[in-house]
Symmetry: C2
């Protein structure tokens, strides 16, 4: 096995050290027991050695054996992504479709040799960043004859920092915290914090068009990409580093969202920020959810571009931020490396009060320029802590089912859309998970022309029936989103999970064009088959 | 001929009414005579009737004759785009490659019938918006057997306005002033003003990724596109209207910049603004060009997102804004529909003074919220007037040659890049146009990671030798841009003019992918051959 500092967990997001310990699991079981009205115990996590895997169907050429592995550990860890049903399969020891081998290339030469081998032997290739995909985007396909998963964990360096233009060249496999740690001494930051931040990679963010820190203006990783480098079965693809261009369709925009179907992203130049010094945050309460979302619309349309402008419906405000008043909670945040943010914040607080928002003066926190974070206390702080790096592992297999789905739609459609989701998905939830089920919503990102709503559901499920229950709910959610003009994903990606809904959403001819584009670089259809493009 | 309100000019950008009159032409000739030191007269503009055209090589099916024309006027007008060499050809009566017919479809049905006919008879199709292309993007290709130009002038309506989301659905052929006139009573505006604004179209902007009003943050039309609709030889392509999405590569981003090679863009939803009510502008002088551009870098990196942040080098400041002090001129502008801009402007003025900029207090103009424009007086006003709707027609054929080229590059590269341009292009200019030639630069758009410099050159050329002289200069410019890391175009598009330089710039495999995508919707290669993609 390739030496690595931290071992990935095979049943939670992240590393062994991120796994919930026995104490945490016991507490989760106790809490679940209370909710269920009967005692449940934390399921026994199988040992890696005890997991039954089919035999590897390939033999690794000797010259590749220094970085291509077929040991039990690597194959187990790379069987599943990060979706709740996959984690559930994992703790139950179900690993039906493991990769036949796992590659850990660390150089251009190794990448070239690897793809040459896969090309020649028609081995399918699944690119793998942090393994946090919640859309079944990193699994070996069930019907593939032979599969190599390519983990970018050894491509984990910052290759160059350009402090003048504020950009850096990253290898694709670098993890969020590692890149931030390296940028910090330079007073620079990427400030891209998807929920998977501690365990996901630059390459994964680009491949899936991840959504990040900024709630307005520059929301997706797309907005930070200066150039990309990718190896395809037909060779290297490398775009020129540019701040802006109008030269034909953008090469990077075809790589962004390609989800490993065109090649393995190996490097990218990304735009950086100077670390914020001036900050301001405020929390605002609304008695009515739609009154709140209408206020958000007005605020985002003024284009003051706050870094944070996220509203939680009353249910979500209770769950995630401890709000006990059945009110919607709006969190506003401004930040800047250069200019004090009190003027912007005061302007927005005045606006939001005019729009019916309730703001306590002590909930408006404006920093003194020391760089100290605001918004780490009260409801805002509680919300923040419930957001990044949350690990679902503790609740697995306890008879509770929870998952999320997210979308975006225009403002004119929003309230109708939300009512449809609540009626239809709410109806299915009640039927499948019973009266105690819950459905809540927050906006993760907002645009002048519409919000990106993010729904969370949960409820009680008979142990052993999680998959069917989940599928029924998911079907309703997909249908409501597609029928009511939303996008099947704002930042979770398509993968295998959303493929049919995506096909219903996108222009049919765009599907043909993508297939045409793919065929030109991957004529044998080796790259991540079953995801996004292809049959 | 199809009735239209305004007849297009065949030798200037725009309409007959935009042609410089005899008085203007005489004055231009007198000014040229002074510069040349000998008398030149305005060339005689040929009458349309006198222009020799090859016979049309197609016969228009009778059912299409209501909107497909092959009269002299339409064929003459659609032979050339808007590049200075084309206009020069036009006034000289040179129309070697006219389209065989010109279509003016006004409905989906007509578009479908048209493409069905072209498909069946293998007729090449050149989409045509406002005809202002400066990159030879709308010409019938010299080697095509049969060509129909498709003018979108009858697709000129706003189909729907969504005031809640601030967006509207435009037909592709609507012109800038027409759409603004229709939005004005609703207090809305697109605020996209490429230099061709009076004569160019929504469809053309999308096809070419035009650059607009905003100097920072949202610069290209790309940033305003919610969805697109396009007819291809394989049928309709229509993307879903969304404020944001992460579902696969963006369909719209493949349409943006496709320059008519995939299909004819027929409609688009674009994001709108409420008309600005609060404005502020300032002019700043710098003794040194690079001191000025370094200040611009610092200003744009603070992310206050001014609407205007354009710097002119001393030569350009003299030519375009009447500055007589051999200083660089920076123009700063803020605008908002909702919030006063004095704070932003005062913050930036303070910053720019710290950076060595000279600002007279009376050159900082902050509006009272009446919506009245600031920045229409002094150097800023003069610059503004020299920018939009300038028509090169008056100077044609007088023994003067002028043209522009534009690019974008990262800040770390900028000063070296600019020096290379000045040395190499300047050298060629001196050799080809003599000592009196000039080369100047301004930034049209700026990004946190780099500027978009725009160069203008002019000089004296022997009448009749314009093409060779121009080609020699252009070759040097292309070479300098490509060799020094720039993009061959920031917002002028690729067309036939920049095709080989674009091929040198883009990832080779991206070319293959685009060809693959094109082949899937245009298997016979009918759409705008020779532009961007293809041989």
């Amino acid at each position: 096995m390739v030496a690595r500092q931290r071992q990935r967990s095979f049943w939670t997001w992240g590393f062994r050290e991120d796994e919930p310990n026995e104490d945490v699991r016991q507490r989760a079981a106790k809490s679940a027991s209370n909710r269920l009205g009967r005692e449940v115990k934390p399921p026994v996590i199988p040992s890696i050695e005890s997991i039954q895997l089919r035999d590897s169907r390939i033999s690794i050429p000797s010259r590749l054996q220094s970085f291509v592995m077929d040991d039990q550990f690597d194959r187990v860890v790379h069987t599943h992504g990060g979706h709740v049903l996959e984690l559930l399969q994992a703790i139950r020891g179900e690993f039906p479709y493991p990769p036949d081998a796992v590659a850990h290339p660390s150089s251009d030469q190794e990448l070239e040799e690897l793809l040459e081998w896969c090309n020649r032997d028609r081995i399918k290739v699944v690119p793998y960043g942090g393994g946090t995909s919640v859309v079944w985007g990193v699994n070996p396909p069930a019907d593939a004859e032979r599969v190599v998963t390519v983990d970018t964990d050894r491509l984990n360096q910052i290759l160059e920092v350009d402090e003048v233009s504020r950009a850096a060249k990253f290898q694709a496999g670098i993890l969020g915290p590692d890149l931030e740690a390296e940028l910090k001494p330079l007073d620079l930051t990427l400030r891209h914090y998807p929920q998977s931040f501690p365990w996901s990679t630059v390459g994964g963010w680009i491949a899936t068009r991840s959504g990040g820190h900024y709630a307005t203006n520059h929301t997706h990783i797309d907005d930070f990409v200066e150039s990309t480098r990718m190896i395809t079965p037909s060779g290297w693809f490398e775009s020129r580093r540019l701040p802006g261009s109008g030269a034909g369709p953008s090469p990077d925009r075809l790589v962004l969202g390609s989800e490993g179907t065109l090649g393995i992203i190996t490097e990218a130049w990304l735009r950086l920020q100077v670390r914020p010094k001036y900050r301001a945050s405020a929390s605002v309460f609304f008695d009515d959810w739609y009154q709140g979302t209408r206020a958000v619309r007005t605020l985002v349309q003024t284009k003051l571009f706050p870094a944070n402008l996220r509203i939680l419906d009353p249910a979500e405000a209770t769950l995630a931020a401890g709000v006990q008043t059945n009110q919607a909670l709006l969190i506003i945040g401004f930040e800047s490396a250069d200019v004090p943010q009190n003027h912007q914040m005061n302007t927005m607080v005045e606006m939001v009060r005019d729009l019916g928002g309730q703001v306590n003066d002590e909930d408006v926190v404006i920093s003194d320029g020391s760089g100290k974070a605001t918004g780490r206390k009260g409801s805002v702080g509680q919300w923040r802590n419930s957001f990044i790096g949350v690990n679902a592992g503790a609740q697995l297999g306890l008879g509770l089912l929870s998952d999320t789905f997210e979308t975006a739609t225009t403002w004119d459609n929003w309230e109708h859309f939300d009512r449809q989701v609540r009626t239809k998905v709410g109806g299915t939830l009640k039927r499948v998970l019973g009266n105690g089920s819950s459905l809540s919503c927050r906006f993760t990102h907002v645009y002048p022309d519409g919000p990106a709503p993010y729904y969370t559901f949960s409820g009680i499920v008979p142990i052993g029936h999680e998959v069917e229950a989940w599928q029924e709910i998911k079907n309703t959610a997909n249908e409501v989103i597609i029928d009511n003009g939303g996008t099947i994903t704002h930042h979770h990606a398509v993968g295998r999970l959303h493929k049919s809904a995506w096909e219903a959403q996108r222009p049919e001819l765009f599907g043909s064009m993508l297939k045409g584009a793919k065929a030109s670089v991957d004529p044998q259809g080796l790259m991540n088959p079953g995801v996004l493009i292809g049959d």
